[in-house]
């Protein structure tokens, strides 16, 4: 009990400090210089931050959607068919998980440049789908490990069409995996820096790119204020999704 509390405290302490510092009028946060909402005012009036945030959310949402669809399909194929091609498929799906980001970023950039694709939101979108697809596929594939194929056959025996069997039996069974994979993909896309840096073009700055650059000249305090809002946002999402889940039961 105490150990749990201590661990939780240890985990959340940095976040608590960030929340406190976001109200500190000292721009370096070394010592307490008085309460201020200045950083929040700055945050809300900075059009660049909002532009970056819009880009980030747009890419995270769209790339997650596509990655979930493709990843689930990939997991299904890996589960259903066992052949030499599938072994290769498995390796290809696995590769982005272990490939260093910088390698992926540079090679994607070279690829886009060679194909003369204009760098921008679209190339970031493609890059994010590329890496998050693997995560979704792996998580959903994990769910498949305990899947008993005969329940699909049973559904068919009882008169369900293939479509119905998939919709009413397979998808509900996989849903926790799909949701987990989707969340993973969403967070990965939200905070990816290295790959995004290389494949971003003019007019496609995302939040992580902006924050990293702010470290040099900007005020860390504005980043604190932004973090607090992101944390709040995450809490709201988690709590409301839990409430929704309870409602269904």
């Amino acid at each position: 009990m105490y150990a749990t509390a201590a661990v939780l405290f240890f985990f959340y302490l940095p976040i608590i400090i960030v929340i406190g510092q976001s109200f500190n009028s000292s721009r370096f946060g070394g010592s307490w210089k008085g309460f201020t909402l200045n950083w929040y005012v700055k945050l809300f009036t900075d059009r660049n931050i909002w532009h970056a945030l819009t880009n980030t959310l747009l890419i995270a949402a769209s790339s997650t959607l596509l990655a979930v669809i493709l990843g689930t399909l990939a997991a299904w194929v890996l589960y259903k068919y066992k052949s030499r091609i599938q072994v290769a498929h498995n390796v290809i799906i696995y590769l982005p998980l272990v490939l260093p980001d910088i390698l992926m970023g540079i090679s994607l950039l070279l690829f886009f440049v060679a194909l003369k694709v204009t760098l921008g939101l679209f190339t970031i979108f493609i890059a994010h789908v590329t890496f998050s697809l693997s995560y979704v596929a792996m998580v959903v594939y994990g769910r498949f490990q305990d899947f008993d194929y005969s329940i699909l056959e049973a559904a068919r025996d009882l008169g369900a069409t293939w479509n119905q069997a998939v919709r009413k039996v397979l998808i509900p069974y996989l849903l926790p995996g799909i949701a987990a994979g989707g969340l993973l993909a969403f967070t990965l896309s939200l905070d990816d820096f290295v790959i995004t840096f290389f494949v971003s073009g003019p007019d496609s700055t995302t939040l992580p790119l902006y924050i990293y650059s702010m470290m040099r000249h900007g005020s860390p305090a504005v980043i604190n204020a932004l973090s607090v809002i992101l944390v709040l946002f995450t809490f709201i999402v988690v709590i409301s999704s839990k409430k929704l889940g309870e409602g269904k039961k």
Binding site: N48, L110, V113, F197, F198, G201, R216
Partner: protein, 341 residues
């Protein structure tokens, strides 16, 4: 599902609005230009300025070298501008299109890397030096020798930056920041190892916080950072060592493949106008070698040593240059410093 798709479409259409106006794509450091000045430019030139950000010169170089394009103006530091010029990545500056170029301080220019502004126009200048607490060090002298003082042991820091630290020691011994002479480097190495006994750590960002909260009494610091610290805590001061220091300058440069040349020149010219250059200086706390703008600045601001170093010190100081293959010499010395006890 349909709602999500509709929302996405809406967002897409929002982000691509304003197509009728011309767009100028700028690749810059974050928070390095006063947003009000940019808005004023957008009004005067009837265009949209699109800002993009990078976080290091090397990242900028890697990205452009790999073939990324679409930017109209970049802000590399002068050693990087030189490298990019040598590799044919940036354009020559057409002086006839910049009527405010005359505002640039020619005496200052003579000391820089690109003396004739062939391929770059200076934007902002910063120095490294020593920031300290006046109340805790009453007998401060502006010299790199301060790092030898064992009575300050454990309460001072040096940058965690190979070129800056070895360079400071080189200057202390009377050599250049850009030397490739191995004997000089060896001497500098011995000096830094001596200093290392007194310092708490090699650090850039944490040190600032430490100085402002009283954990440290003296740190190796950049002028702009020091000014921001002094703004908050009046016990702090900044000095440039008499032996000389390193100067870093960020430039306006125009990449080879810039699409909107007209607008790019207009932008640079606009930023060189006295009033606008002044506003930018007040926003980022750096010194800009713009005579017309400097005339408009607060006396107090200019008399501050963290903003305007004396001419003698300027002449003794060096711009950090790209070392190319000689970088290895520095890496070797740095490794020995880091592993020394």
């Amino acid at each position: 599902m349909k709602k999500i798709a509709a929302a996405l479409l809406l967002l897409l259409s929002l982000s691509s609005c304003g197509r009728q106006k011309e767009k100028l794509y700028i690749y810059n450091w974050a928070d390095y230009m006063n947003p009000d000045v940019i808005t004023a430019f957008e009004k005067s030139a009837n265009c949209t300025v699109v800002m993009n950000y990078y976080d290091s010169n090397e990242a900028l170089y890697a990205k452009l070298k790999a073939g990324a394009e679409g930017y109209d103006i970049l802000f590399p530091s002068s050693y990087m501008s030189k490298l990019m010029q040598e590799q044919g990545m940036i354009r020559e500056i057409d002086h006839s299109r910049l009527k405010n170029l005359a505002n640039i301080d020619t005496k200052y220019l003579a000391l820089t890397v690109d003396k004739e502004m062939k391929y770059s126009v200076p934007y902002m200048v910063s120095y490294s030096g020593i920031a300290y607490d006046k109340t805790k060090i009453t007998d401060f002298k502006p010299t790199w020798a301060m790092f030898e003082r064992s009575d300050l042991a454990g309460r001072i820091t040096l940058f965690n930056d190979m070129r800056e630290v070895i360079g400071a020691a080189l200057k202390f011994n009377g050599y250049s920041y850009n030397t490739t002479n191995e004997q000089e480097l060896e001497k500098a190495q011995a000096t830094v190892i001596q200093w290392k006994k007194n310092i708490a750590k090699f650090d850039v960002d944490e040190a600032k916080r430490g100085l402002s909260s009283g954990e440290f009494v003296m740190i190796h610091a950049y002028s702009g950072d020091a000014l921001q610290l002094m703004d908050e805590n009046e016990n702090l001061a900044f000095a440039i060592p008499v032996e000389g220091t390193s100067i870093a300058q960020d430039d306006f440069v125009i990449p080879k493949d810039a699409k909107n040349l007209d607008l790019a020149y207009k932008f640079i010219d606009f930023m060189l106008e006295a009033e606008n250059a002044k506003e930018n200086m007040e926003f980022v706390y750096y010194w800009s070698p713009n005579n017309a703008a400097l005339k408009l600045m607060d006396k107090e601001f200019l008399e501050n040593e963290a903003v305007t170093p004396s001419k003698e010190i300027m002449e003794k100081s060096d711009f950090l240059l790209d070392m190319g293959d000689k970088n290895e010499l520095y890496t070797r010395v740095w490794d020995k410093i880091k592993s020394a006890n």
